[in-house]
Symmetry: C2
Subunit: 194 residues, 2 copies
């Protein structure tokens, strides 16, 4: 698979379009022609950049994950303490949903997991694992209790937070509501770090 770092400007536009389409309609919900129309080129030109849809989406998911992880690094550098970091983490989901109720790329692909080409499924799985590790670390070092948090307790709370945020996007859409992740963070933050 082509790595997203060695990609031309034209191919980048294709990835941008694919990302938005996946976030709105899922893997099975868009076509090469949809991308072509958005980018302003023809269908076969897409194949010039990405031979198959599986490769295209795998590359896009990889780029999405990389950017997300970069954002996590940024949060650790610019925010101090558990609450601020979890709040900044939640804001990433919030900002995504605020754009026409877009879902997390790996969230919507996760629901389609059984149907996904293996390379795409691998990206999704890695994305969640790394998010959980990051959250468990932040929760573990940021909590305010007297005893240090047990490793598996930190992991449980990380799982809860991630699921609540992903689920809030899913449910928010089903409710046809503009309020997504934000509806779920209030109160939860205190619980996670208590």
């Amino acid at each position: 698979m082509k790595h997203f770092s060695e990609i031309t400007p034209a191919a980048e536009k294709v990835l941008d379009a694919a990302e938005g389409l996946v976030q709105r309609f899922g893997y099975n919900g868009f076509s090469y022609d949809d991308i072509a129309r958005q980018v302003g080129i023809k269908k076969p030109s897409i194949h010039h950049h990405f031979a198959t849809k599986a490769q295209l989406v795998a590359t896009m998911a990889q780029r999405f994950a990389q950017r997300f992880f970069d954002a996590l690094d940024g949060i650790e550098q610019t925010h101090t303490g558990g609450p601020a970091r979890l709040q900044a983490y939640a804001a990433l989901f919030e900002q995504t949903y605020a754009q026409d109720r877009r879902l997390c790329v790996c969230g919507i692909l996760g629901t389609e997991a059984e149907d996904l080409p293996p390379p795409v499924g691998d990206e999704v799985q890695a994305f969640f694992n790394r998010n959980l590790a990051w959250l468990a670390h932040v929760i573990s070092t940021g909590h305010t209790g007297k005893k240090p948090l047990a490793r598996d307790e930190a992991q449980r709370r990380a799982m809860l937070f991630l699921c609540a945020l992903e689920g809030a996007m899913m449910v928010g859409r089903g409710l046809r509501s503009d309020s997504g992740p934000q509806t779920v963070t209030q109160g939860l933050m205190g619980y996670l770090l208590a």
Copy 2:
């Protein structure tokens, strides 16, 4: 739209197949031919029972929701107290995911909301609204605090619980894990009713 209550045994088998296929692959992830193969008939026979895919899935979602609400009534009759009722509620999600990691019908349809025929979207929206109302009621009457729960606080907690459960199915799939909703209920229950 045909109501599911006036449906023949043959049509019922079609709905059963459609339900499983939606839970595994989503609205855009299966075809009339997939149903036909499962039921053991041919494609046009499906159209005899349900003229369009939109009608078929709308009827299926309606049946799913009705059964789910019946289960909620059952929980209120057979379980007493907030903790037992929330536990029984979570078990409904658990049982679904335990079947080949199937998702909640309205959960997976919710992620596809932007792409859904309006009648199907209506069913999904109604499903979530009614679930939130039921949960808010159980949480409100079941909590152990000294002061009665404020209405909007009960609704916030209901939203958190629903999103956590739906999200756990989504994330569990992305992780290729057999552990779904169960990973998220522990600890949360105490928080909801505190």
